[in-house]
Symmetry: C3
Subunit: 155 residues, 3 copies
Amino acid sequence: MFARLDTPGKQDGDRLMHQDQTEFTFSTKGQGLYEITRDAQAFVAASGIALGQLTAFCRHTSASLVIQENADPDVQRDLLAFFRRLVPECDPLFVHTLEGPDDMPAHVKSALTQTSITIPISNGRLLLGTWQGLYLFEHRVAPHARKIVLHVVGE
Amino acid sequence: MFARLDTPGKQDGDRLMHQDQTEFTFSTKGQGLYEITRDAQAFVAASGIALGQLTAFCRHTSASLVIQENADPDVQRDLLAFFRRLVPECDPLFVHTLEGPDDMPAHVKSALTQTSITIPISNGRLLLGTWQGLYLFEHRVAPHARKIVLHVVGE
Amino acid sequence: MFARLDTPGKQDGDRLMHQDQTEFTFSTKGQGLYEITRDAQAFVAASGIALGQLTAFCRHTSASLVIQENADPDVQRDLLAFFRRLVPECDPLFVHTLEGPDDMPAHVKSALTQTSITIPISNGRLLLGTWQGLYLFEHRVAPHARKIVLHVVGE
């Protein structure tokens, strides 16, 4: 629980905060939620960080990140359906249509969800709740290659 | 890629970045905003960190976090009313209904707000604006015990 | 303000994690998206941090942050139009009206977007995607002076 690093008289072997960063590409098959919890956890394990934080960052404006339930797949289906209705294609409101009818809705959905999410780490594990999974949220209809940066800081 | 910190030559008196983590459980009384600014500030004070950052993380997918005005309680009332209308219960769009009519709306509302929020710290205080408060946003109708992780990094 | 960690016993070649924090005020001209990528990048460069993370934090509840496309200005126009329609002024739902018809919508829009965003840094550069820009999202109609805190951690 309590993890303060004390520093006077520090000796070799004392743990010090460090960081690690990676980028990976996820190939989506079009609109939907793609779980990347395992990728994130594997990176945390490889970093050797026991106590700290992971930040995931999506390098796009037509895909985003979200933490959602990983139990009943209907939750993801309903989430997708809700966002599709909230930000419909071919909305006459939109002027930016040259990249396709799903592009501007994708930007809006990205703004409504997250581009970066930070998750605490304890005992080398992401401190996600029992039903939480980390998802890449693809908003475009066509398949895309999406770049996700993972960054850990801790000790 | 890998950037572990080594410290040969380090001396007493050098300030070093350190971190601290805690989890606490907040018992909600159903849908609403519950301010946790004081809990977060108390944790920052206990950590002894003067300059750094606090990250709050909600370990649930039917409750979330939000920073909102802490002055006029009507703001919280209106925010709640807006989200209730935007993501109504008993929406025929939703297939995931086995956990109750308020469950799927709770997941959507969580996706529309935050699971993690990072706040800078200066002089041992959260650098919130004058009117900003940190809130746990309970989306379920029934009371729930919600786990929040707080993590500080700084010096 | 400036908090670089100096390390008197330090030897060439030792890298240590350190942090730096600043606050700047951005004067908006009313509702709209204002790009602050360059301010953020300049701060990262000044910090000397090559590998790490930047967190931007907006100290307001009627303005927020968002990462969006920085190429076609129509994207920003459409985003603004969408949020204006989603959270209209003079909505009879709202009780909190004493600060003007655009105030409560501003709080809702802030809740629907971000108050804090964390961006990874590599080789001294923000690891934004090709089309990503960091924006201050002003939700009030009148011009406002907005305080943004930038905080970097890294080495």
